[in-house]
Symmetry: C2
Subunit: 222 residues, 2 copies
DNA sequence: ACGTTGACAATCTCGCCGGAACTGTCCACA
DNA sequence: TGTGGACAGTTCCGGCGAGATTGTCAACGT
């Protein structure tokens, strides 16, 4: 039906969110609705029609960036074959790196409200909220893992990473290396004895991503 | 020489710090120098002579409570024979419990400045600052441990605990249980294979506390 | 000697106020 | 369907003055 109109609307939405994200990332704090409208090349009313109110705009941005963040982490988890240690370590490093590169992403990952106002007030830390998604993805991707163990591991790594974002960081590489050793030791200590990680069960090809993503990484847009 | 005078001075110091700690703990925010003096039963000038200025008073309190905190954690680490898992788990649980029971202790452990003003501004999180002390104590107390492994383990547990203090907590028991499993798995995954923890080397009696405390838990009063 | 009292300027805190900016909504217009 | 103007209600911000607090001094009492 409204195929064309919807495409335009989506365009406008993205443009507005881009403008706002750019401003926040550049440290210009948060912009007024009027400024966002101007920079996005639309009228203020269009903005209100599209997002309802300021809060709607903010949460739309938060949602979008949260999805980006989560997707990249899942991609990283998926990009290391059967090497669980490398996968988790790389994912953690990626999270730290993204937070370091982008104030907005850092705020979303940690849940700190100070930097970006109420933007994050709703969800809290993405790292802590998405633990079930991460666990589910891990289990789907690495079927040899034990569910309970995986949950705890994800929990620990998530809090470890978040903690590193909240205070005087060590560089992402160091954090990744620490996570690597942690995961290695943790998995090696499992019920099957040391080096359990290396015992693969199903040498499946690398084609699980889309499916697992669709199954687990659903947040509900709004 | 000034033995008697010094004892009196120490008495006054403790009294003043007690008064202030009580107020902070009770949520009465921070007191004025005048109020502290009155409640401690001394004149305002005595307070200034003793602590120099307000900041001196605050940091003196922070130092004292930090020492209490660290001592209790070390005691807990020391109170479980050769069971490393139980020791670390109990220590973590104790930290969480102390933070839950006492606003001041929570602020000191986490390093958050919001609650108690500049009191903590200097040191930052005790949990994160005292990692070398904790590692050293662990190594002295459990000689079978590998130094590097211990450092990483302490690091991870410290950040894990701190993270749990900073946001919607799970109860101390749950955190302790998680730490327990984490430590168990971590140690079991060590170079000697699973259940390495159980292989004791030196069945020494329980007499290490004072010595190790004196060796490692020195912060320098001021 | 040592702690107390009173006094002092300098600073900080806090509530209040007016002006500006912003939000959210309506309507006329193209 | 999107734009521009207009609008009341609200929030944000700098200035301001009263009052409290800090840090220091000197005179006093024991």
């Amino acid at each position: 039906m409204t195929t064309y109109a919807e495409r335009v609307r989506a365009q406008v939405r993205e443009e507005a969110l881009d403008v706002l994200a750019a401003a926040v990332t550049a440290g210009d704090g948060t912009l007024s609705m009027a400024t966002v409208a101007t920079r996005a090349g639309v009228s203020r009313q269009t903005l209100y029609n599209e997002f309802g109110n300021r809060e709607g705009l903010l949460t739309a941005l938060a949602d979008r960036e949260n999805r980006v963040l989560l997707r990249r982490v899942l991609e990283e988890l998926d990009a290391h074959g059967d090497d669980i240690v490398a996968a988790v370590s790389a994912a953690a490093g990626t999270a730290v790196r993204m937070a370091a590169d982008n104030v907005l992403h850092k705020a979303l990952l940690t849940g700190e409200t100070a930097t970006v106002g109420l933007l994050v007030a709703h969800g809290g830390s993405l790292l802590l909220r998405s633990q079930s998604e991460l666990s589910a993805f891990m289990l789907a991707r690495f079927p040899t893992l034990d569910p309970e163990d995986t949950q705890l591991l994800v929990h620990v790594v998530a809090r470890f990473v978040q903690s590193h974002l909240l205070l005087p960081h060590e560089p992402a590489d160091v954090v990744a290396a620490q996570v690597s050793r942690l995961v290695e030791r943790y998995l090696a200590g499992g019920p099957d004895g040391p080096n359990r990680v290396l015992r693969r069960v199903d040498p499946r090809p690398d084609d699980v991503p889309r499916d697992a993503d669709r199954t687990t990484a659903r947040g509900g847009t709004s």
